[in-house]
Amino acid sequence: MSDKLKEQILRSSGSNVLKCMRCGKCSATCPSYDEMEYHPHQFVYMVEKGDIEKLMSSDSLYKCLTCFACVDRCPRGVEPAKVVEAVRLAAVRRQGNNHLVPTDIPGMLDDDLPQQAIVTAFRKYTK
Amino acid sequence: MQVNENTNFEPVIVAFCCNWCSYAGADLSGTNRLNYPTNVKIIRVPCSCRVNPMFILRAFQRGADGVILCGCHPGDCHYTSGNYFTRRRITLLYSMLDFLGIERDRTRLEWVSAAEGAKFAATMQEFTDAVRKLGPNRRLEDLRCRKQ
């Protein structure tokens, strides 16, 4: 199961986690670091180890801002944000695992909130 | 010519490699344990400019299915200018073979440096695949030179 999941994550992300040299620059650059239980470098490392379930159930999945700072600054071309995204997708694709529930939305709105915030949230957190 | 249906077809491929760049590049791909098909057999020449177009025709006549010539990158010739002459000669030969209706993918000129082991292996793989797709060389082969 874990192997299959790992394979799925690697394919979906297109990332070669074996290129990682454990420098930690992704985590050094991550603006959401403090909000995360597992940090970008751990995502890469744990996917490599096949230790993915922990990541799937962690709130860290929803803390990534997809700002691509780690992707641009990684000296090895590992693209950690894409790994995070692949794990998040794998998580929300599971039955009943949507992170965002439509009924919660009205409470989050205000007059100035741009539409794209809602569209984006659905894109990223639901299936 | 129909694409060969016979999956057992193993093309005979002759590769002329210049001693200073491509032959060393071929050695490097071995040192790095890269892979390319066994079909490729290398003939060492001091410089790509040593390769007489006659040799290429001879190979086809004797049943080669593909001939590839590898030399140093333009500007990097060990003998300063050899590969520039090669480029002219081989361009004209390839154009003539094309004019005679010989399949274009059977011949190739590549520049491979001594550092490009990976390029050498990839080029050989690609070339072999291309020739395999073309099927056996019938247009230039002399049947009387054939085995058995």
Binding site: K19, M21, R22, C23, G24, K25, S27, A28, T29, C30, Y33, H39, H41, R73, C74, P75, R76 | V12, V14, N19, W20, Y23, A24, A26, D27, S29, G30, T31, R33, N35, Y36, T38, K41, I43, R44, V45, P46, C49, R50, N52, P53, M54, F55, R58, A59, G63, A64, D76, H78, Y79, T80, S81, G82, F85, S113, A114, A115, E116, A121, C145
Partner: protein
Amino acid sequence: MQRIGVFVCHCGTNIAATVDVKAVAEALGHEPGVVISREYQYMCSESGQNLVKDAIREHNLTGVVICSCSPRMHENTFRKAAAAAGLNPYLVEIANIREQCSWIHKDIASATEKAVILGKAAVAKVHLNAPLIAGESPVVKRALVIGGGIAGIQTALDIAEAGFDVDIVEKQPTIGGKMAQIDKTFPTLDCAACILTPKMVEASQNEKIHIYSFSEVTDVKGFVGNFTVTIKRKARYVDETKCTGCGLCTEKCPMKKVPNEFNMGLDNRTAIYIPFAQAVPKVATIDPNYCMMMKTGKCGVCSKVCSVGAIDYKQEDKFIEEKYGAIVVATGFNPINLDKYDEFAYNQCADVVTSLELERLMNAAGPNGGTLLRPSDKTHPHTIVFVQCVGSRCDDEKGKPYCSKICCMYTAKHAMLIREKYPDTEVYVFYIDVRTPGKNFDEFYRRAVEQYNVHYIKGMVGKVTPKSDGKIDVQASDLIANEQLHINADMVVLAAAIEPDKTARPLATMLTTQMDTNDFFTEAHPKLRPVESATAGIFLSGACQGPKDIPETVAQGSAAAAKAIGLLCKNSITCNPCVAHSNELMCNGCSACEKVCPYGAITYQDKEFRMPDRTTAIRRVASVNPAVCQGCGACTVACPSGAMDLNGFSNSQIMAEVDAICK
């Protein structure tokens, strides 16, 4: 009748694991003319070579085929063995069944089949091999060293010591190179200038050494033992033979705002300048981009104050031609440009510096006279962050894939020197790995941690943020603590990757030597011939071959010198006998070969020939000078009549190989 011996090498399991060597020996034993076919564990070993020698004697062999590793590895070994047994060495052919067979393929059956075909091609070729006798060509007893850094200086001193003339070509106005800019050296912490400058002086005073400073190599012709090199002596607008280096002109020059490259642009120099106090030659140079006289025709102060009349605004570049027997490349390195790494704010903040800039900041002859001050406001930094591997070990277009090798150690040195001199300064080093393989290296690094309390943090800096109060926020990861840190720093020092000097690539083309994809010169053998290039007579010294520290550079400089001396000691060298030759009976005298020969090795003469009808006729025929011919074979293809052929790679030999492969 040919009597050919075939010898198939196992190379331990290198060949035998994927090629059935017994089957290869068996198959080749049935080839026409083959009288003995053997396999053996290690053909290149003494007993393997004896096997070949014994067989030559016993079977009176006329040709030998060795199926083994690449001829680039052991062709010479087996040629020597054959010669020792009385067989002409050029009657040996190698079938490359290791690099080009066993190491490439996995399937035993097909690899074996291929090895047999390669063997057959070699047998077919050796049938047509002719015994060749190598000629000789004289050696010019003079060496050229390109680059006057510590590598070039060491090489030149060693060659001169052995009694040979040697010229150094240095593109800067002074020799000394990067080492002259360095403050202290690891792991001994002795002053770089104190050990380098005496060597520079020694080089300048040695009668055997001639220094062409402010000069560049623009053309190289010829071959081992006999190179002809064109050197461009760039106009320095000062007569070197007159200038005494008094420095009065540099004091009086009104143009004082020229970025000082010796101090990495951290301070200014004058338009006429001597790079540093101990420069060799100690001669002024005018920078025409800044000199008012050169730009506007108004000024001339230096000319007025120069008591010896050395200033010459009209000086022009001069080209000189010299002959050399050996050339040593010592073109060195440079730190990479950091434009692509501005997450570290190098272009946005004056207090983010490279390690080489820090060397100058700390140097007594540097912009601050040896007191470490921030470039921005000249205040004393209390927190300094070092970032390792900036541009090294990268797998992207921005950086270099290799480890720059010297950064771990110089950073430990910097950290230690700062903590020693300014104990109130906190020093942080962000590292990925600390690499200390060298004598006393790890001990040195441990001292930085244990004795000097330098904070080594396993992790990388992600973002450097200059702030309005002049401080610098350094955001980094601490992988051991698994936390993200913010350090409020005063200075950031980047360990920029090093790369070969930009002049190396065109030089390699001139020298017809090879480079790797990073533009480092490629050595003839990575282990066994580390200071020779694959081109005979060209040797490699220092960081042009790969990142090196000073002791390694000096060691390699001396090694390159030893190789060059070995060459210069000979009165003549054995020429490659695999050269072109013209069959006069077939030659048309058409000059096609002459046109394509890169060495001018072909000349023509009118010769009298007896014709079949018993008359005589005078014909123009080509002849090849075997000492000049390098054996490329361009002429053989240009020749319409086939009169021109190449020893060792004759038309019939190559066609025999073609036939054997296609059969």
